[in-house]
Amino acid sequence: MAKLILSMDGLVLKEIALTKERTTIGRKPHNDIQIDNLAVSGEHAVIVTILQDSFLEDLGSTNGTVVNGQPIKKHFLQNSDVVELGKYKLKYVNEAPAGQAKAADFEKTMVLRPGSTKSAAPAPAPAPAAAAPVAVAAGAKNFGDTVAGQSVTAAPVAPSKPAAAPQKNAALQLLSGANAGKELDLTKPLTTLGKPGVQVAVITRRPQGFFITHVEGASFPVVNGKTLDAQAHSLNDHDVIELAGVKMEFFLKT
């Protein structure tokens, strides 16, 4: 559950859990978070929470709303964002579940049903930011008529990439053939070598290091004089690869 920590001059005043769909912030007493300070407008801002995500919206306040030093109109809150209203600071805390087991549970796919959504994610609200997600719950059924085939990328990137790439860089130097002496940096996750239709191998760049694998052709690549099988083969500094009649040396760069 996300929360806000209200502070002034480094002094924590209180913590507010974001349990409601709309949490209003302002000077007037009917606000969920009342900040009795003249720099704060009567209705200053609102935080709309949809399940685990929260959005901050300025309600046309006189002095504006600032997040991490930037004035905003609407902002998708991220963990440890700091919202400034006059002298007051609101820190947004929304930590992903800590434990490994818990995280796995948390990430399990669940169904959000039109019926059940009403209670889970909340009643209609007048603000434009909130209107859409509610329509979502009700509109889920007829959503199917929308034209598919548009390439909308929803969430392709992993939230945490542990050691996404190996620390070291590596390259190949051609030792024979027409381009002898030339160097080829292995910067991509996949680099193919050889002649399509004749013999192709691929070098994959992984967190554990670099690997060579046979892709196509009757003959397999040769590393340090030994012919490989269909399995991926881990490459070491100064290994010599022979492929489609060309010799090349693999080496790590510093």
Partner: protein, 274 residues
């Protein structure tokens, strides 16, 4: 009808680095031009049961039905394309089976599954999907997501609440708005697409596309297209290298040649008199 030699199919499924068991399920029949992928959900092993039921019902029933039904014809009674009718009926059947099992056996309560099915015939492909399992197409050097997720995030993107970039930061992942086996009736989203020789189609569970960027998926499909099996294994390995937080399933289909429907004069006459 057989498509023997028109399609090359390779697949790979893996529990990933975090989960102890695999709740994904895959099935394919290249000669019939049929591929099915399901990503189950539900406690204990109920997810596996749901996804297993979905793929089994759909592949076995369709294999039988395709012996006598012709997918590119129009059904005389419903006026629907036979391919659509078959998919609608068999998805409904799978839905009922899962729903009833979930209702009658307490250990299966609440189980469900996503689904993506592709049926290839007559230089075309009909795709049916429910939930957030996807189908991508690589044509030339362009990778395109063909299916659109039935998920909270996708709907938020559509309604303009968040941008696709912000969606990557969202903590509301894995919330699907449709699934097989949860309600007595489910509607699959079904569309037709023309295929071309050289196209590569990728069916995958969210364990792949949440862990591997579209760019890296595209690069793998392009680079390793001459060895589909290796390509499928590479995609799973990349998802695992990036953390493998969910089960990962991949089915790859490459269109090797045209496969037009065998439309003879006699056949056409027959269909008129039906």
């Amino acid at each position: 009808m057989t498509l023997s030699g028109a399609l090359e199919v390779a697949s790979c499924t893996d529990p990933g680095m975090v989960r102890s068991h695999n709740e994904d399920s895959i099935a394919s029949d290249g000669d019939q031009g049929l591929v099915v992928l399901a990503d189950g959900m539900g406690g204990y092993n109920a997810g596996e049961v749901a996804s297993g039921m979905a793929t089994t019902v759909i592949i076995t029933e369709l294999q039988q039905l395709l012996q006598k039904r012709v997918p590119y014809e129009i059904d005389a009674h419903s006026g629907q394309l036979v391919a659509h009718q078959l998919l609608h009926e068999q998805i409904a059947k799978a839905n009922t089976s899962i729903y009833q099992a979930a209702q009658s056996q307490p250990q299966y309560a609440g189980m469900g599954t996503t689904l993506v099915v592709a049926l290839f015939y007559d230089n075309k492909m009909t795709v049916a999907h429910i939930g957030d399992s996807r189908l991508y197409r690589l044509r030339g050097d362009e990778l395109r997501q063909v299916t659109k997720d039935h998920s909270l995030l996708q709907e938020q993107i559509d309604s303009g609440v968040i941008t696709p970039q912000q969606a990557r930061q969202s903590q509301n992942k894995n919330l699907v708005t449709r699934a097989l086996g949860i309600d007595p009736i489910v509607e699959a989203e079904i569309h037709d697409y023309d295929t071309q020789p050289g196209d590569i189609y990728l069916l995958c569970s969210d364990g792949l596309c949440d862990m591997v960027s579209d760019d890296d998926i595209g690069l793998a499909l392009q680079t390793l297209s001459s060895n589909l099996k290796l390509c499928a294994q590479h995609l799973v390995q990349t998802a695992n290298d990036n953390g493998g937080r969910d089960n990962i399933s991949v089915i790859l289909v490459r269109v090797l040649r045209d496969y037009p429907a065998p439309r003879s004069i006699v056949g056409k006459m027959m269909s008129w008199f039906k």
